[in-house]
Amino acid sequence: MTEPDSNRQPAVPDPAELAGRERLTEPVVRTGMFGATGTGDTSGYGGLQVRRPPRVPSPRPYGSYFDEIADQLAHALGAAGSSFGAAVEQVIVANGDLTFYVRREHLLAVARQLRDDPKLRFELCLGVSGVHYPAEAGTELHAVYHLLSITHNRRLRVEVTAPDADPHIPSLVSVYPTCDFHERETWDFFGVIFDGHPALTRIEMPDDWRGHPQRKDYPLGGVPVEYRGATIPPPDERRSYE
């Protein structure tokens, strides 16, 4: 360690500046005052660009029972020859929920520990919810698992990401058989390929359907409707306030 010198630049940048930089890398979610297109923005804020707030990792302590879960998972993963830092990219506590962003290659190991460790015991998986973020380069596809521990009456969210170019996520059917239908649904709607699923086929759409309808690049479709002489465009072409 060198002596602190007040004249030198601080080694750690200004947190406010850092937050600003982080924010500038986020996708724009709204332009102008109202986020509407097609008409002029006379509010004087037409050039406004609102970016999505960045996902900032939560600092310890997480509060509630969340620290206990994190500690116990770290302990269990350590005993199994892995580590918390290697498996979990990020921990976010928001809206009263705990979210572990797990690297996909570690998902099975983490799920197994979450289910089997007596102090974690997340027996019930409430399925997979796919989310598509086309603006997030490299992590466009998210698979969100909600876990419930009936033993300890706790909830946990595990989120896994995959790039569009390589949409593979390991299947959890071997740990939670209930994920069977849910993973088929997420494959059907988002095109996430769950490696190791016993029969990954479409479940809601017809077998010969093309494309994955709930991705953001898949149009909603619809036809204009005429009512009393006025024509109403389909929902995705109506004026919207993003």
């Binding site: 969100v144 909600h146 009456n153 209930t178 239908f181 309808p213």
Partner: protein
């Protein structure tokens, strides 16, 4: 026995031999014998069986011998009346036993989740109420709880709105369970139970219609509260309902609880224990009939359920009969909760006791009123925005067309629907429309268990198994 002697002997030997003609010299039998049974004649269509009476054992034995390794694949549904809507079950049968069962779904997929991404947060209620059409108020509530959690306004929802929500959900639970029990009766052959169930459900729907204006697709529960207060006279009707329902439910129980046919159809079949429920993600009455008293109203209360007195009915038989009993008991408990709601709603009321959040940026300004043509706009509100306040008009216009913005983030909210844990995963990017809404519908998940319940059992028990799962295809396919 009146059967001729030659048939008797013939039957005994045919079991071991595929050639009835080889049966000893004592038998003389012409190929044209009109009463002859199975023959080896080739009519150009392969082996032909003549079934003439008294020889069933023979026919069955010969068929067994020939077809023991043949599988029969049967498509049950998607238009089969006992599959609760457009559910298709692909059964692989070995005789009467089910060796493999695969549920096929998707026939009622309507893209509700995708559509909600193109509407405002408030309009989303109109879509999600149509998912599980037997429990629309649960769909609305779980969605609104998720939106409120994202907005961080759970504590600002008025107390009265929460009581009305609980009241509506419990009414809806009774309506849904009555359908479940009634259709279960119909499917195992007790038509009267179905008629009774529908008749009692009608009383529940009348109340829902009185309060929300509609029998289903209510869009009554909105982010921030409920759309309208109870109409005058509703409390009296509710009290009357709570008074008469125990007797009417008793009539169903009197018909069904000790019916020998029902017992035979629903006991010791479609077995699923707690381990099976956990691994397959099964919740609700099926889990409680396996012996686990897991009810989100008790374990993770929402809408103030912790302040109501009620029990969680549990059975440990793991079979459709136990699930039926759990549903019947739950209706009794729902009546208890409804009467507590009525007491709370009928207490002295302050002049300013809203059913919608006070924040005018979220709660819709229009308080609906009962007009001559049914429930609709409030004349007071229209007078205010159209002739008194330009600002109020602008505000109304913006809130209704643009909607409110919800902070970016994601939440998961869950309620105990009549079929189990109904979850809502809502993601916002900070806009006026959801980025993604996903519903964890209990029917969808519970339907996976139908294979585990039926494989190895008899084909008739599939009916009892599906009826006891009580899947609602609107919720399964969304």
């Amino acid at each position: 026995m009146t059967a001729p002697a030659d048939h008797q002997t013939h039957g005994a030997t045919a079991a071991g031999s595929a050639h009835p003609e080889d049966t000893g010299p004592g038998e003389t039998r012409s190929h044209s014998d009109p009463y002859g049974s199975t023959t080896d004649e080739d009519y150009g269509e392969g082996r032909v069986y003549h079934v003439t009476g008294q020889d069933w054992d023979e026919v069955a034995a010969a068929a067994d011998d020939l077809h023991s390794d043949e599988k029969l694949v049967v498509n049950m549904g998607p238009q089969h009346p006992s599959t609760h809507g457009v559910l298709r079950l692909v059964l692989t049968l070995d005789g009467e036993s089910v060796t493999e069962l695969r549920p096929v779904i998707g026939y009622l997929h309507t893209g509700i989740e995708k559509n909600m991404e193109f509407r405002t947060w408030t309009q989303g209620v109109t879509f999600c109420t149509r998912m599980d059409y037997l429990s629309p108020l649960f769909n609305e509530t779980v969605y609104c709880l998720a939106v409120e959690k994202l907005l961080g306004i759970e504590s600002e929802v008025p107390e009265r709105a929460n009581v009305i929500r609980v009241l509506m959900m419990e009414l809806n639970r009774i309506g849904s369970h009555l359908t479940a029990v009634g259709t279960m009766g119909l499917e195992v052959g007790a038509t009267t139970v179905f008629i009774y169930g529908m008749r009692e459900r009608e009383k529940t729907l009348d109340l829902l219609e009185l309060i929300t204006g509609l029998r289903m697709n209510h869009a009554f529960i909105r982010p921030g509260g409920v759309s309208i207060d109870l109409p005058s006279g509703a409390l009296e009707r509710l009290r009357e309902y709570v008074r008469i329902m125990p007797g009417l439910l008793g009539e169903i129980r009197a018909l069904f609880d000790a019916a020998p046919v029902f017992h035979a159809r629903s006991k010791n079949v479609a077995y699923l224990d707690v381990t099976g429920c956990m691994s397959l993600g099964v919740t609700g009455p099926i889990l409680r009939a396996a012996g686990l008293p897991w009810d989100l109203r008790k374990s993770q209360p929402y809408c103030g359920y912790e302040t109501y007195e009620f029990d969680v009915p549990v059975r440990d038989s793991c079979d459709p009969f136990g699930r039926y009993l759990v549903r019947m008991d739950e209706m009794d408990q729902s009546l208890r909760i409804i009467s507590q709601c009525v007491d709370r709603l009928s207490g002295p009321r302050s002049a300013d006791d809203p059913v919608m959040i006070r924040d005018a940026k979220i709660g819709w300004p229009a308080r609906l009123a009962l007009g001559p043509d049914g429930m609709g706009n409030s004349p007071d509100h229209i007078a205010h925005i159209m002739s008194q306040s330009m600002e109020a008009l602008i505000h109304h216009f913006k809130l209704v067309t643009e909607g409110f913005r919800v902070p970016a983030g994601q939440v998961y909210a869950a309620v105990e629907s009549p079929r189990g844990e109904l979850g809502c995963h809502a993601v916002s990017d900070g806009g006026t429309r959801p980025w993604r809404v996903h519903f964890r519908d209990p029917s969808f998940t519970n339907l996976q268990a139908v294979s585990a319940m039926c494989e190895g059992g008899m084909v008739a028990d599939v009916i009892a198994a599906v009826a006891s799962i009580d899947p609602v295809m609107g919720g399964v396919d969304r």
